[in-house]
Amino acid sequence: MYQYFLPVLWSFLACVGFTLLFNIRGWGIPITCAGGALGWLIYLLFGKTIPAALLASAFIGVYAEIAARLRRCPVTGYVLVALLPLVPGGGIYYAMRQMLSQDMDQARITLLETFGMATALAIGSMLSSSVFRASWSYVKRLHAQVHLHERHHHS
């Protein structure tokens, strides 16, 4: 429990700094930072691997879609900052470091991992929000049909 609490808190606070850079205000700040914190929690729970990043970003995608619909605001504001802690900044650094120390094999592995991580982030949130949108519009259509049906009955 304790081992998860602190990282989640750090992730939340790290996101707060980014909201200042992207000029996010008001309720947007806690909402997007909570997304970043929960995303990091999922990443930790599934063992800090590339599939874990995929799951985390998939979660953030759905979370942002829901938040945006509740607040009637563009989704970008919520997904942008929440994904940032997961972006593989360390990978870029270590790959460079290994390259400079002529350790090309290790550098290649790190580069591939970094690329995989970035792709997982992109694909994860893309897939989840696409699925969410498709099912959302389906539910809406179904809802509209039921209403139409009811009105038909009344008349």
Partner: protein
């Protein structure tokens, strides 16, 4: 109400949205909705990063086209949300064009921005908490805060120095970060070099470009998506090269 005025209104709205960092499909969709709301069903809108083209046909059959360029811009969520709200309102109420223009022009004044000092605070704040996230301790937090502050100084005030050259700007910022991190460690502060450098580099990482690239490919804008993906890749290379400067220095000092 004539075509040209509506065309100008739509182009201004598109520019305002794009300038606040909205995705391409949002820019196109908003402009199309606005044009339809004002009765221009045959309007065509085309947007790619930094450029908007909008074309309508006047009643006499004469085509009217307008092209607008949008310069290098950051992301301003507050302004984007306000433009989005205004666009929705204009589509629903279709006030007279002059009134709509006035409302649109009022947005930059209404949407408050954090000033440079607060942005700087953000640059120092995030790395402070990235440090423990990447396994650092209290000293690492302090050092990461300092290095982040330096990155912020370069990012916020270095704009005039580097102009629109984002690649070079990122390269210099990350080199500065890596040199300062190295200096702090060499001064005898018991901090971990990797942790403090990476924490500060997180401020330069192309998260926005990756996010935009993916949202645009989702919407089917392959061209814009590719250009953002290329930007993300270039930024990553710039960060790596910049860090390389610091790391190479390490071998000599």
């Amino acid at each position: 109400m004539n075509q040209q005025q509506v065309l100008n209104l739509a182009a201004d709205m598109g520019c305002a949205l794009m300038g606040s960092g909205a995705e391409i499909y949002r820019v196109e969709e908003s402009m199309e909705r606005l044009l339809r709301a004002y009765g221009m069903d045959e309007a065509e809108v085309f947007a790619i990063p930094n450029c908007i083209i909008v074309s309508v046909t006047a009643p006499d059959g004469q085509p009217v086209t307008r092209m607008r360029r949008v310069g290098a811009h950051g992301t301003d969520i507050e302004r984007m949300e306000r433009c989005n709200d205004l666009n929705r309102r204009l589509c629903a109420e279709t006030p007279p064009i002059a009134e709509a223009q006035r409302l649109l022009r009022a947005i930059p004044g209404q949407a408050r921005r954090y000033n440079d000092r607060v942005s700087l605070l953000g640059y120092a704040f995030s790395p402070t908490f990235f440090a423990p996230l990447f396994g650092g301790g209290l000293t690492d937090m302090g050092c990461a805060c300092l290095v982040g502050l330096l990155v912020g100084l370069f990012q916020v005030y270095g704009g005039k120095l580097f102009g629109g050259n984002g690649f070079f700007h990122t390269l210099v910022s990350s080199a500065a970060a890596s040199v300062l991190a190295l200096g702090l460690v060499r001064m005898g502060i018991p901090a971990r070099l990797d942790v403090i450098t990476i924490s500060a580099l997180m401020m330069l990482v192309p998260g926005v470009a990756i996010t935009n690239a993916m949202r645009e490919i989702m919407a089917g804008d392959v061209l814009s998506s590719l250009s953002h993906a290329a930007a993300a890749l270039l930024t990553a290379v710039a960060i790596a090269l910049g860090t390389g400067v610091g790391l190479a220095l390490m071998q000599y000092i």
